[in-house]
Every structure is written in C-alpha cells, then in structure tokens.
C-alpha cells in the first residue's frame, strides 16, 4: 500500500462521481486534441506540399500574403527573379477551390506552369501527363479520383470547360492527392485570368545557402514594390484561415483547462467535505499535513490523467472522423505526434493539480480535533 493506491481506492470508492469527473475532463481534452490537430494539420499539409515540390521561396503580393494570394501578372516578374544568383527555376502557379459538378464538395484545382519543376515530385500511377501547355486535359490525385469517382477517359466539367482525365498521380502531400491538376495556361483560361498567377515559386539551386535565400528576399522587397518573397512556412503561418484555426484551438485549450480544473475542484471539495472525519483520523494517526495534501492532489491528478488519456483517444478518433468528412477530405492532414499527446497529458495533469491544490490545502489545514468531531 502506498499513497497512490490509497488515492486510487478513494476514487474507486465513489465510482459514479469519479467517472463523471473523468468524462467531463475527457470531453474537454478531446475537443482540444481534435481542434488542435486539425488546426496544425492544416498548416502542416501545406507546408508538406511546398516541401514536396522543392519550393524554397514564394513570391506573393504584399497585401494579400495573409489571405488567399490575389492573382497578378507574372511574366515580367518571373524574368527578373530568374536572374538572381542561385535561383534555379521560377514557376507560376494559379490555384482555386472549385466545385466539380453539382453535388461534389469543393476541391483544390492547381494550375502549374507546364514543364516546370513543380511536376517533378509527382508519381504517375496511370495514364500520362499533359502533352502541351494548352491540351484541354486534367490529371487527378488518387484521392480526388476516388472522391469524384473519375477514372482515365472520363470527363470533368470546370467552370463550363470540359476536360478529359488523362492521368492519375500520387504525391507525398495529402493536399495534392486530393487535388485536380491542370496546366497553368489551362487554369488561366478556365478562371478567366489570362497571364495571371497567385504566386511565383522559386527553387534555389543545390549550392544555395540561407544567405542566398535572404538575398533574394531582400532584393524582392527593395526592387519589386508591392511584392514579398517569403518561405512556404511563412506563407502558411500568415494565412488568416490558419491563424483563425489556431486561435480557436488556443481558446479551446484555455476553456477546457478552466472547465477541467473547476470540475476537479468541485469534485475534490465535495470529497473532502465528506471525508472530514477521515482526514481527522489520519491526522490523529500521525499523518503530517503534507501527506494529506499530497494524497488529495494525487487523487485529483489521477482523475485528470485518466480523463486526459481517454480524451486524447477520443480526440484522435474525432479528428480522424473529421478528416474523412466529405468537406475536409484531402485538404487536411491531421498530425498526431507523441510530443503533442504528452503535452496534452501534461495539460491534463496540470489542470488536475491546479483544481486539487485548494481543496488539498483546505484538507491539510483542518484542525484534527474539529475534524474528528465532524459527523
């Protein structure tokens, strides 16, 4: 027998109350896990896509770097960027979120400069790539093909234009697997934005260093008013949607922590009230105040730890479920990392101990004689 088994026994002695408390904590933690993995997954998915493509810097309009980058005419800029030292290649990109057909959920449509490095990392599973920059065809990511129920030879309708599906590819990035891919020229024609791009992607050569990338950034901000060169990570983390998602997850963490701590607080207060006499007995039997405090804190930490474990499991299931809803499928790659789960577990214990401290101090401060007189 030790303090932990004693604390566990006290919790098991009141199964209904303990399980209610654990459930309340688990719900809060589940919400934290689901929202946070999705908010961070959203960011990570885009980061992954840019990393897979080999993009080092992205040139976008200064004013729209926080939101969906607004299109601009890219040709002149592209030439200038290509002449900076260590820039290997510059590729234009125009992306849209479009609905294909009436019922299907919106899907990413990427227009990539024909023949650019952007295509290199994709693995063609079936069919072929577009033959030239104007061929009216589309290739689909594996997930997009599955969601749209399309295979090679089928036709898809995009903003009134009919494109033939000629290839199916796989990428290491989920967002690309869930996308429809066409050439930049086709995308400009479909969306009625001739010569325009959302962003220009810069790939540096193999010998380029951080300093070379910084040099390009500086040059862009000096010589191209209205434009900024940023890393893909910066682009994603400045995105308003990502910021909102993160803010929501922060608020959820805060609320879940407060609610969890209050629930633990209330439970332990009730428990101590009922056990006043028992605490007096322990004091009479020579238990120091510190040990009584420690026992109560152990109890509250155990409640919270169990709630945290269940909450993490439920939260992961919830996030996986959300990932697979029609609306989110192929757009978000929720990330569950061991450090994240440990941090959430740490948060649970923190709220448990936080909620248990005051009741524990109250219990430890009881006068033994008064506690023993308690009915």
């Amino acid at each position: 027998m030790n303090l932990l088994s004693l604390a566990l026994g006290n919790l098991r002695h009141r199964p209904a109350r303990s399980s209610l408390t654990v459930s309340a904590i688990a719900l809060g933690i589940a919400a934290v896990v689901a929202l946070t993995t999705i908010a961070w997954g959203f960011e990570a998915s885009w980061q992954k896509a840019n990393d897979a493509r080999g993009t080092d810097l992205i040139v976008t309009r200064t004013g729209s770097q926080n939101a969906m980058p607004s299109p601009f005419v890219g040709a002149a800029l592209l030439d200038q960027l290509a002449h900076y030292p260590h820039v290997q290649e510059v590729a234009g990109l125009l992306s849209e979120m479009l609905s294909i057909g009436e019922q299907s959920p919106p899907i990413f449509v990427f227009g990539w400069a024909y023949g650019s490095y952007l295509w290199d990392h994709l693995k063609l599973l079936q069919g072929r790539w577009p033959a030239d920059r104007n061929e009216p065809v589309a290739v689909l990511g594996v997930l997009a093909a599955e969601m749209l129920h399309k295979s090679i030879g089928d036709r898809i309708e995009l903003e009134g234009q009919t494109l033939q599906v000629i290839g199916i590819f796989q990428s290491s990035a989920l967002v690309e697997n869930g996308a429809v891919l066409i050439t930049l020229d086709r995308a400009q024609s479909i969306t009625d934005k001739p010569n325009k791009v959302n962003v220009l992607n810069i790939k540096m050569d193999k010998t380029a260093t951080e300093a070379d990338a910084s040099f390009v950034k500086e040059q862009v901000s000096k010589t191209l008013p209205g434009f900024a060169a940023i890393t893909s990570g910066e682009l994603v983390s400045r995105n308003t949607v990502v910021k909102i998602a993160k803010a929501m997850s922060h608020v959820t963490i805060l609320i879940a922590t407060l609610v969890g701590a209050l629930v633990v607080f209330n439970t332990m207060l009730m428990s101590i009230n009922e056990r006043t006499r028992e605490i007096g007995v322990l004091q009479a039997l020579g238990w120091p105040r510190s040990r009584i405090m420690y026992m109560i804190i152990c109890e509250s930490a155990m409640l919270a730890l169990l709630g945290g474990l269940i909450g993490i499991a439920v939260g992961i299931l919830l996030a996986i479920g959300l990932e697979h809803t029609e609306l989110m499928r192929g757009k978000i790659d929720a990330i569950f990392s061991i450090p994240f789960c440990l941090a959430v577990l740490g948060l649970s214990v923190f709220l448990g101990v936080g909620g248990g401290i005051y009741p524990a101090r109250m219990a430890a401060r009881l006068s033994p004689a008064q506690a023993l007189r308690h009915e």
Binding site: M1, R277, V281, A284, G286, P288
Partner: protein
C-alpha cells in the same frame, strides 16, 4: 528574580511521569464554553488510568489535548519531561509516541484490515514488508489472522475495534488514548475488546488512558479520574 525554565516535576518515586498535565484549560467560543478548565494531572509510565464523568464534562477534550490534537488555551502538558509547546512537528510526535482508539472505530472504509493497521507507519522508513508483517502479526494477536484482507464494512463491530486496537499499536507507542472504546459494542464484544486492549498494553508496558462510563472497566484501572465541568477529581485506586 531567577527565571527557572518550567519543566516536569518528577513524581514522588523520582521517575519522570510519562504525562505531566499542569493547569491545562481548553476554552471554546471565546471562553463561553470551558471544555477543560484547569486540569492538573500526572500519569506514570505504564499506568492504566480510566477517566469517567458525565456527558459534556470534558473527557474527550482532555484526551484531545493529551493526544496533541488540540492546543490548550492555557497550561502546559509535558510528555516524558518535554513540553508540548516546544514540539515543532505534532504529527511526527503523534506518529512516534501515541496510539488512538475511538468509540466509532474510525477505520478507513476503502482499505482492508491489514492496510488500516499500516496507516500510521506509511510514512516511516520501514520497508513495505516490515509494515505488512508487523500489521499482520498484530492482527493475529487480535484473533483476526483470517480477516487481514476484509474491508471494514464486512467486519463486525467487535472485529472493527480489534483492527483499530492493532492500528493503535503498530508504531509501538508509549501511550494509548482510548475514548470509550467499548461504547459502541454489546457486552460480549466489549468484554473481548477490553481484554485484548488491557492484555496487549500489559505485555508491551504501554500507558493507557481510557475514557469509559463502564464501572466494571474502571474497576480494572490503576486509577480513576473523575471529570466534572472540565475539572478532574482523582478517586484514587481503582477497584
């Protein structure tokens, strides 16, 4: 004027008493309730003292003071010559020197008989095995060898009080304080519990201070203290 530190007076035979209670009072509600009111009492090492008196006369309050569960409003208690007011850690003092037996047993319901007996030594440096074996042998001595893993709810009143007596002895106390230990038991069980308590304290030479209303019990004591309105009147030798 010479300032002599107050200390315990040796008893007439020269030995330091285990308890020397000097003009001790315990008041509640700003003096309106005088639970203990100027008690003077010396108890010798190994003595069995019974305390009786009407309800509300301050017996439990006096026991609480002796057990260092409450702090006297005035006066001083010395344990083997050491004043209570000089003891920094009362919990440690209790866990080393004092055993308690209560009228209502006060076992912890979530713990087995064996675990209940181990509570007082949980924080001691003893190994788990030593705690267990000592608790088990005390329970065997109480005739509960086959009840070690029973929970209090499944034990009879007499059995519960025997567990509580085993618990009061696990720390080898010099002093056991028992507040009406047979008050919740029928006469057969009361008799059995009493024999076990008196028997083990003789065996271990433990000083016993017991509050009781039962004249047949106080008759077995070395001395009976009669409490009345918070004061004590010694009735001398029991029996």
């Amino acid at each position: 004027m010479k300032l002599v530190p107050q200390s315990a007076q040796p008893s007439p035979d020269g030995a330091t008493p285990i308890l020397d209670i000097r003009n001790v009072s315990l008041h509640f509600d700003e003096g309106r309730a005088k639970a203990v009111n100027g008690v003077d009492l010396r108890i010798a090492e190994g003595e069995f003292v019974a305390i009786d008196g009407p309800s509300g006369s301050g017996k439990s309050s006096l026991l609480n003071l002796i057990g260092a569960l409450d702090v006297p409003t005035c006066g001083e208690i010395y344990f083997r010559g050491q004043p209570y007011s000089g003891i920094a850690d009362m919990a440690l003092f209790r866990s080393r020197h004092i055993g308690f037996v209560f009228q209502t047993f006060n076992l912890i319901p979530t713990l087995s008989a064996l675990e209940n007996v181990m509570i007082p030594v949980l924080g001691h440096s003893w190994s788990a095995a030593r705690q267990r074996s000592k608790a088990a042998s005390l329970l065997s001595g109480m005739g509960l060898a086959d009840r070690l893993h029973c929970f209090p709810a499944t034990l009879s009143g007499g059995e519960r009080q025997r567990v509580a007596i085993a618990r009061s002895m696990i720390n080898d106390p010099g002093l056991i304080l028992a507040d009406e230990p047979t008050g919740s038991l029928d006469s057969v069980n009361a008799q059995q519990v009493l024999e076990l308590l008196i028997g083990s304290r003789e065996e271990r030479q433990i000083t016993l201070v017991m509050v009781t209303h039962d004249r047949s019990i106080s008759a077995r004591a070395d001395r009976v203290i009669h409490m009345h309105d918070g004061r004590n009147e010694s009735l001398g030798e029991g029996g």
